[in-house]
């Protein structure tokens, strides 16, 4: 065949092919109705206003009396960590530790420090605290590590004996290590070497207690007498257990008032200071408050509006001067509050 004819026909075929490809992409990129959407009009620009009974007023729930504010913010520490989850203070030497899975920030009290490597790899966020003899308890999602001269690790993912689903707090007294596992809704007791000794929680018929934990928030701390306090967040209560782990009493009531715990599950975090007062943090209306050892409301540490609203928990710690340290996991900062006039 003549070269010229082949060439000419080739051009025609190329034109059809170009048309086909062009037409295909034009048609696939066109989504009906997807043009000119998301142009937000104000209600003044013609949108029918929502009737009053259809509105939800958050501002009302955030109100508080400024006279109830007991603390002032002393300083703010930038952690430099991507996803900090744990915060603790070593009351003996004043070291403040902020932990994430990628490292830990070590501060000298409220003075910002440096990020150091973790002594052990953590799978997922968990909790951190210092034990009775100064050992570091470092927990990932389902494993606890006791770090002193050596490192002892125990636990794995599961719901069986000595297993964990979602560790949210780890604390130790002179005899035992306690773990709060929000995933399995129970507190477990171990000896100081990690040997399983028993549990408090839904399957613990002897104690007759149930933990109602609808979200991954379940905090614990010891008072000066060595009693273990656990936040039973779904019941909006703080529960007291003897140093051996036997249920003793509880306090806390639900409601929107400043002296009550708001929402479905609060307090999400708490800590007990040197005077056996409770410092509590709530989600929903993010606020930190102070109660005495009987559960009587004393005042506000950080009012609503202090923290980034996206926080769903505010891990807390106190130092020997009763300064309150609060971890803003969204802004990745530690906010330090001290009592006014001190």
């Amino acid at each position: 065949m003549d070269r010229k004819i082949i060439f000419k026909n080739g051009i025609w075929i190329l034109l059809v092919a170009a048309g086909l490809v062009g037409g295909y992409f034009m048609a696939s990129s066109y989504i009906p109705g997807n043009t000119a959407v998301n142009e937000v009009k104000s209600d003044g620009a013609g949108n029918p206003a929502l009737p009053e009974n259809f509105k939800y007023d958050m501002a009302k729930l955030k109100q508080y009396d400024p006279r109830q504010l007991l603390y002032g913010e002393e300083t703010k520490i930038k952690t430099g960590l991507k996803e900090p989850f744990g915060l603790t203070v070593n009351k003996k030497d004043g070291r403040v530790l902020v932990v994430s899975t990628e490292g830990m920030l070590v501060c000298d009290g409220a003075i910002a420090g440096k990020v150091a490597a973790l002594p052990v790899r953590l799978e997922g966020p968990g909790s951190v605290s210092f034990g009775f003899a100064g050992e570091l308890l470092l927990a990932g999602r389902d494993r606890v590590n006791i770090v002193s001269g050596t490192i002892i690790g125990f636990g794995k993912k599961g719901k069986g004996v000595g297993e964990f689903k979602y560790i949210t707090s780890v604390k130790a007294n002179a005899k035992y290590i306690f773990t709060a596992d929000a995933g399995n809704r129970r507190v477990c007791k171990f000896d100081l070497k990690g040997k399983y000794l028993g549990q408090i929680g839904r399957k613990d018929k002897a104690a007759g207690k149930n933990f109602v934990i609808p979200s991954p928030h379940m905090d614990m701390d010891f008072d000066s007498k060595g009693n273990l306090w656990v936040a039973n967040a779904g019941l909006l209560q703080l529960e007291k257990y003897s140093p051996e782990g036997v249920f003793v009493s509880s306090w806390g009531k639900h409601g929107i008032n400043i002296d009550e715990f708001i929402g479905c599950c609060n307090p999400v975090n708490f800590v007990i200071d040197g005077g056996d007062n409770f410092i509590t943090a709530e989600k929903g209306v993010l606020r930190i408050k102070k109660y005495d050892k009987t559960g009587k409301f004393l005042g506000v540490v950080a009012p609503p509006g202090t923290f980034n609203e996206k926080n769903t928990s505010i891990p807390l710690a106190v130092d020997s001067k009763n300064r309150v340290y609060a971890l803003d996991t969204i802004e990745k900062t530690v906010r330090v509050f001290s009592e006014k006039g001190y």
């Binding site: 034109l15 295909y24 048609a27 109705g33 958050m58 479905c264 599950c265 929903g284």
Partner: protein
């Protein structure tokens, strides 16, 4: 004799070729577009619950008299709290189903006792107007298990969804019709 390699194309022939070319290109475009239409999966409007800020416009902007948007309960996240902020007015002391205690302006949420301290909350779809008030309460104070969704047995799949146009959270998206709903965990289902 030597062949004339630089033979001129007549004007007529040039116009003919141009016309032929344009016709073939047009045919190609039409064919390509048709092919794309055949291959393209039908799409529907849906709300991305992660973006919804419960502005209330779902209840007022839909072309239907009662909105095609309804509240749905994602029980894999929660839905069993005694003190449910999607069900109760904030500040309620009496945790009972009395109308004065309820948050929903149309009484579209049913509360059923399961075992202490758990209750189950279900949406009576025909009463729900999609105002999102319960979703706001649940998102702020609970675990975010209540969410708004366009219900496809009601939605007209308008070419230009009026709620999408007014949506303050830019939460309206087009998704394949075979996966017509989006759960809070971010999965289409």
């Amino acid at each position: 004799m030597e062949e004339n390699k630089t033979k001129k194309v007549s004007r007529m022939e040039f116009l003919k070729n141009l016309g032929r070319g344009a016709l073939l290109l047009f045919l190609g475009i039409t064919g390509g577009a048709a092919l794309a239409r055949v291959k393209k999966k039908p799409a529907v409007w849906q709300i991305d619950p992660a973006k919804c800020i419960q502005c209330g416009r779902c209840a007022t902007e839909c072309v239907l008299r009662v909105s095609a948007v309804k509240c749905v309960h994602n029980f894999s996240l929660c839905g069993y709290c005694n003190l449910c902020f999607g069900f109760f007015q904030a500040g309620q002391r009496e945790l009972t189903s009395g109308g004065e205690n309820q948050l929903c302006p149309t009484g579209a949420i049913k509360r059923k006792f399961v075992e202490y301290p758990y209750y189950e909350y279900t949406i009576i779809e025909k009463l729900c107007v999609g105002c999102g008030k319960c979703v706001k309460g649940c998102t702020a104070f609970g675990n975010g298990s209540l969410q708004l969704q366009v219900m496809h047995d009601r939605c007209k799949n308008c070419n230009e969804c009026l709620i999408a146009k007014a949506c303050a959270g830019k939460a309206f998206v087009r998704i394949p019709a075979e996966k017509a709903y989006i759960t809070k965990e971010g999965r289409e289902s």
